[in-house]
Amino acid sequence: MASIHARKFVSADPDKCVGCCVCEYACSYEKEKTFNPVKSRIRVVRLDSLIDMSITCRLCENAPCVTACPRDALTQSEETGVIMVDEDKCNGCGWCIEACDYGAIMLHPDRKVVFVCDLCDGNPKCVEWCPEEALDFVTADVLAQKARISAVKKLFQEAIRPGTT
């Protein structure tokens, strides 16, 4: 049951994301009881005023961060796919940071160990707070379904009568 396809993660729709960083604030408040983007597990990127997107852990299969860790400080939950950090083992060397293609695992500014999205026990606060509903808590399968539907919609935009979508 706990196959890779059933794992839900937080995904941002760049068409909806406005780069407001509410997710960063919600995350740092939820996890650290303060407002500080450098303590957020989700981070926003804006490019050339035209592209906004927040990024957090994608729960990769055979997660490169786990593989990269020389101290076996990282493990991945079989069930949820969440990356778990053993803070006693982690020495903040940063191999995992280098291995992550998304910049989703980061060094904590105070604790000097790495930290990463833990999905707030299945109820991600960033998704709850996003004022644009740009964040989804979804499985890869559902993401693909949505992408297919919107691609077909775009292709047949003119054929679809108003009110039928």
Binding site: C20, Y29, N36, P37, V38, P131
Partner: protein
């Protein structure tokens, strides 16, 4: 302290020395932050009568108590305050984006930049580590290029930058300070003050926590604000944006056209918010911690200005559009983009182009003066070229970069009849000839021509009052708004969110206490709004302002609206202006000359500033 960082940083640009001093709870509560705290620090740190472009004029950068928190729209603001090189009175400009939040996280409520660097520098604020950096390689660059270069140099892509462009370097009095690529502290020439200090940019990286006094209640309040911000009070900003105003103002005969020659524009449809959004807007962005998002980014898809990408708001759209008689959106967007490129206040710059066109139409400026530019109203290409000239201070642009008031004095030949400004600051996009409640607010605004010090146009446009009438009692309505607007600019929450504080001062006072832990009643907060308004007035009085400086632009008082529209024939006479001022000063508890009385200062807890008014009031008694 909560909300506040509790620290004020001084940077001596001459020696590079820095000093951190505490922000007192007394100052925090009395002046809040933003423009309130900034204006108080300006009074405390300057002698009267200084030249705004001299090293004696400090550039004061403030955040608000909400900056860096999750407060929607309030989490991201900052303000610049200094003596204005346009008005010689108090200058202040706010901006949003991401810069203010970063500065708060670096641990500062205010930064005072003193003196002048010997050579171009930028200030690098890396939490507690503050240093002057060589800016030779940045000199001449646009704010966007400067931001990119600093991030590259320092190797940190989350650094936030506020910087000036060529216009600020060359001390154009209409120069702005631009942050986060598209946001501007535009008005009153703060960019020129920065340029006069050889200060190219302020780069900030803040990694400290910002915590609030009552986190759980605060988060509940924020949740409520998020819901309100999805509601009717913000629909305009989330959909068409402020350019919605074009057709509304046009239909009401309140759209200043061709430098206040007309009040309706035949090309309004082509420069409307509707047309803009359908053909040019590709993306809407939000500032840090905002729950509304309003920043409409437009791209020109074809033609000579193809690829131009810029943020759009009503005021610059009006200034380069109807105000210049230009109905080509591509050229208007190009002109706005150039303002960001050179670091110009787009509102003042559009005014200047319209002023130059009016002078050209009346033979005061000729083709020889303009290096061959045919500056007829409506000439879109010439408008774009003129913005280049102003930005570079080339040819006629050198004079025009001084703002319409000084440009008219230099041009002579009666040009001042076409220079629409108040106290030296260029007009904004409301035809106050037929908005006579708003006109009061414009005349008395401490920073010069401004709709944003009072928002009283709302009363006129919505029909709350008869907008063509001047009558006693109107001033009170304006004052209530002014007091609110000053608090908005001191907390530095976004004006676009003003409709979401359903209970006005009550909501805002609660918000303030949840963040700071400092008890504040709605009445105290309203009194604080009054205090800060008086503070702006006191600064101007200290610099020699009198009742005469509460004037209106020449065309507003000389040219009745000629168009066949509801506002036809409307304008403002000297008698009407006198009535407005008498009503306003009385309602403020000021003398007939517009000077706050000793009793008023005592009531506001500004006794230490009585030295400013004593001589004015005593002089008056003696002459009696």
């Amino acid at each position: 302290m909560f909300g506040y960082a509790g620290r004020i940083l001084r940077v001596d640009l001459l020696t590079g020395k820095t000093k951190v001093s505490p922000l007192s709870v007394e100052y925090a509560k009395k002046y809040i932050g933003g423009i309130g705290l900034g204006m108080r620090l300006l009074i405390d740190n300057t002698k009267p009568g200084i030249d705004p472009l001299s090293p004696e004029n400090p550039l004061i950068l403030t955040t608000g108590p909400f900056s860096g928190t999750m407060a929607p729209t309030g989490g991201n603001g900052h303000a610049f305050v200094a003596k204005s090189p346009l008005t010689n009175g108090v200058g202040e400009a706010k901006s949003h984006g991401f810069f203010g939040a970063e500065l708060k996280r670096a641990g500062y409520d205010a930064v005072i930049f003193e003196n002048k660097a010997e050579k171009p520098v930028y200030v690098w604020i890396d939490d507690d580590n503050v240093q002057l950096m060589d800016a030779k390689h940045l000199w001449g660059k646009s704010p966007k290029e400067t931001e990119d270069a600093i991030r590259e140099d320092l190797g940190d892509y989350y650094i936030r930058v506020a910087s000036i462009g060529l216009a600020g370097e060359k001390l154009a009095r209409v120069a702005a300070i631009i942050n986060d690529t598209t946001r501007a502290a535009g008005r009153t020439g703060m960019g020129a003050v920065m340029g006069s200090k050889n200060l190219k940019a302020i780069a900030v990286r803040g990694t400290k926590d910002v915590s609030v006094a009552k986190p759980e209640e605060f988060m509940e309040f924020v949740k409520m604000m998020h819901e309100r911000m999805k509601g009717p009070a913000t629909v305009k900003y989330r959909t068409l944006g402020t350019p919605l105003n074009v057709l509304v103002h046009n239909s009401l005969g309140a759209l200043p056209t061709r430098n206040f020659t007309n009040a309706t524009f035949e090309g309004a449809e082509k420069v409307s918010g509707e047309y803009l959004n359908e053909h040019f807007v590709v993306k809407i962005n939000g500032c840090s911690s905002c729950a509304m998002r309003c920043e409409h980014i437009a791209v020109v898809p074809e033609g000579p200005y193809k690829g131009t990408t810029t943020r759009v708001e009503y005021e610059p759209l009006w200034a380069f559009g109807p105000h210049c008689g230009v109905d080509r959106m591509d050229a208007i967007l190009k002109a706005m983009d150039l303002c960001n490129y050179y670091g110009l206040d787009s509102l003042s710059t559009g005014n200047i182009v319209g002023f130059a066109m009016d002078c050209y139409e009346h033979g005061i400026l000729t083709k020889e003066d303009t290096d061959g530019l045919e500056l007829e109203f409506g000439n879109a290409e010439a408008m774009v070229e003129l913005v280049h000239k102003i930005g570079k201070r080339e040819g006629i642009g050198d004079i025009l970069a001084e703002g319409v008031k000084r440009a008219a004095e230099k041009i002579g030949k009666g040009a001042e009849k076409y220079a629409n400004h108040i106290k030296g600051l260029e007009m904004t996009g409301y035809d106050i000839r037929g908005l006579k409640t708003a006109a009061i607010g414009y005349a008395v605004s401490f920073r010069g021509a401004d709709h944003n010090r009072h928002g009283a146009y709302g009363l006129d446009l919505k029909g709350t009052v008869d907008r063509f009438k001047v009558e006693k009692g109107r001033a009170k309505l304006v004052i209530d708004l002014e007091n609110l607007y000053t608090i908005i600019d001191s907390l530095i929450i976004c004006k676009f969110s003003r409709g979401t504080y359903y209970e006005g001062f009550k909501d805002l006072a609660k918000y303030y206490t949840l963040v700071t832990g400092i008890e504040m009643t709605p009445e105290e907060l309203e009194l604080t709004g009054e205090r800060i308004n008086n503070l702006g007035r006191l600064y101007n009085i200290r610099e020699g302002f009198t009742r005469k400086d509460d004037h209106l632009p020449p065309k507003v008082m000389s040219t009745p609206i000629p168009d066949d529209t509801v506002s036809k024939g409307s304008y403002i006479t000297q008698e009407e202006l006198d009535l407005m001022l008498d009503d306003y000063y009385a309602a403020r508890g000021w003398t007939k000359e517009g000077v706050p009385t000793l009793d008023k200062l005592k009531e506001l807890g500004l006794e230490d500033l009585t030295y400013i008014v004593e001589s004015k009031i005593q002089t008056k008694k003696r002459t009696k």
